[in-house]
């Protein structure tokens, strides 16, 4: 809706207005041309009849060229027919001498209005179609292509196509502008929401969590559940206000991220991405903490997505081996030559010996896939465990 409103106050609008005026003025011009030369006509009644139709048609359809929506295909078809019929009727009404001398057709320059309507409505292809038809009618009317006729035909043809093209470009840039304005409005709205949410809901949720947590020490499964729910909602909201709602396009992109597979059709650009934003999507819920630098950690798009996917796999691994209740910490470090991401959990860890055993048998499951991803990026992944301090996966990716 908003886009429609903006569209109406566009570059296109003046063109429609000009066209409306052009049709009426050129209709009057055609009538005046005839009136000044009616004595030379061999069958003036044909000219009078045609001009009467032209006048009625033009005045009845004044509103049809006021914007793109009123200008229907049906109208365009009839309008072009009126123009072509007028051109073809000229030899019947006017004297052969005048026509041979390059005299005007019955609708004269009114036909250009019809062609321009095609151009403004449908772009250069429509314009080419309509102007070609008018050109053909003109050549038929003359009988033989004189130099003037050919010049006029080419002029109308070129002008119509150029205007059609300009309209297309204008429409495309308006769409871009509209999209930019939408993004800007969404950002402003998000900032406003962020302030409001910070001042209200977040504080209350954090407090419920605190209060309930204190109360829950006495027991009560319901309270424990409440604590968990409040905590989850709180971190979900925090994530929401710092990164914003996924729009339809974003949502699509986000779905692509976790699997991090090959990029279909180059849809995802390889421009630099801030790894912090990608990792933040994994750090949801109160059980996963993310420690990161205060400045962006940029990696090429593909590398960043793969690394984030590896972190996702590591977190899945935590859930699978350390249990749903295990906590996890993600540490992101940006060194001059490499980026290091460490995922640690507070689970039971990996018993000494089991790691080597599993590795020598070639089955490390998720850990293996993390290693594979990192190897493809030219980096390394190391898995280690300190008794009583959970397990850690340290992933290193070189920057160049």
């Amino acid at each position: 809706m908003a886009r429609e409103t903006r569209g109406r106050m566009s570059v296109e609008q003046p063109l429609w207005r000009a066209l409306t005026a052009y049709r009426v003025l050129t209709m009057l011009y055609a009538v005046a041309l005839f009136a000044s030369a009616h004595r030379h006509f061999v069958r003036p009644e044909v000219a009078v009849g045609y001009l009467a139709v032209l006048m009625v048609w033009t005045l009845a359809t004044v509103r049809r060229v006021s914007d793109a929506r009123s200008c229907t295909r049906g109208f365009l078809g009839v309008d072009l027919t009126v123009a072509v019929v007028g051109i073809l009727l000229t030899p019947l009404a006017d004297s052969a001498a005048r026509i041979h001398a390059g005299g005007p057709t019955l609708p004269s320059i009114w036909t250009a209005g019809s062609v321009l309507a095609f151009a403004v409505k449908g772009g250069w292809r429509w314009a080419a179609f309509a102007s070609t038809l008018v050109a053909a009618a003109n050549l038929v009317e003359r009988g033989a292509p004189t130099r003037d006729t050919v010049h006029n035909v080419i002029l109308v043809w070129v002008a119509a196509i150029a205007i059609g093209y300009v309209v297309e470009v204008a429409r495309a840039s308006e769409r871009t502008l509209a999209r930019a304005l939408e993004i800007e409005a969404a950002t402003r709205e998000r900032e406003r929401l962020a302030r409001d949410i910070h001042d209200g809901v977040l504080q209350v949720l954090a407090m419920i969590r605190r209060r309930a947590a204190d109360g829950a020490t006495g027991g009560g499964a319901d309270t424990a559940e409440l604590v968990r729910l409040a905590g989850e909602q709180e971190s979900a909201l925090r994530a929401l206000i710092s990164r914003g709602l996924p729009g339809p396009r974003d949502a699509h992109r986000r779905e692509d991220v976790p699997d991090g597979g090959p990029e279909p059709g180059g849809e995802q650009s390889d421009g630099p991405l801030d790894l912090r934003a990608l990792l933040a999507r994994h750090a949801t819920g109160p059980r996963i903490a993310l420690a990161e630098p205060g400045t962006p950690v940029e990696l090429p798009g593909h590398t960043a997505r793969e690394l984030a996917a590896a972190v996702g796999a590591a977190l899945d691994n935590v859930r699978a081996h350390a249990g749903e209740d295990a906590r996890a910490w993600i540490l992101l470090e940006d060194e001059p030559a490499q980026v290091i991401v460490t995922v640690r959990d507070d689970g039971p860890g990996i018993p000494a010996g089991r790691l080597q055993a599993a590795e020598s048998e070639g089955r490390l499951g998720v850990a293996q896939s993390i290693r594979g991803r990192l190897r493809d990026l030219g980096g390394t992944a190391e898995l280690f465990s300190v008794p009583g301090q959970g397990a850690e996966v340290e992933m290193r990716v070189p920057k160049t």
Partner: protein, 221 residues
Amino acid sequence: MGESPLKVMVVDDHPMWRDAVARDLADAGFEVVATAGDGEQAVRRARAARPDVLVLDLNLPLKPGVAVCRELVGADPALRVLVLSASGEHADVLEAVKSGATGYLVKSASTGELLDAVRRTAVGEAVFTPGLAGLVLGEYRRLAAGPSGPAPATPAPRLTDRETEVLRLVAKGLSYKQIAERLVISHRTVQNHVQNTLGKLQLHNRVELVRYAIETGLDED
């Protein structure tokens, strides 16, 4: 803790939250000497009430929490500031810590964690979350990476290998006790390392501020 209770002041613009935190602190035996709902009020009341520990939110009306911290610690270096803030305010948290805050806790922390953090802050211990450790690590690397301010005459502060190691472990969520076990050093040593990382950053920040003040002629009054 000693004979007289610790004097604490709570600054937060949300009344419900502020009162809840103040009540929790009072219940735990702290003396809540003042509360404030905006930055200006915080500076005025802190000067009058002279708390030992300031529990400070960074997102404040009238004057940002970072400015409150800078002014109050600048005037009274003995004041301990514990930042209690919503997460996702990276730049602010880092600024507050550089301006003299020695502790940082997110608002989703439990009451037990808050009380513990206030006690530790009061005795001069640095209270780090993994998030803050990550930020501080990043800040050292940023400073080491090269000049960012106008003509950095002061050399960038550096962490020793051990300090880096300790900070990384804090960022990975290990407790000081676990770190002490892993590195086979004492709990006290771990604390010292963590504190040093903050101290160097604050010192560097003060030197930079003074240098900047001299350069721009702000030192004349």
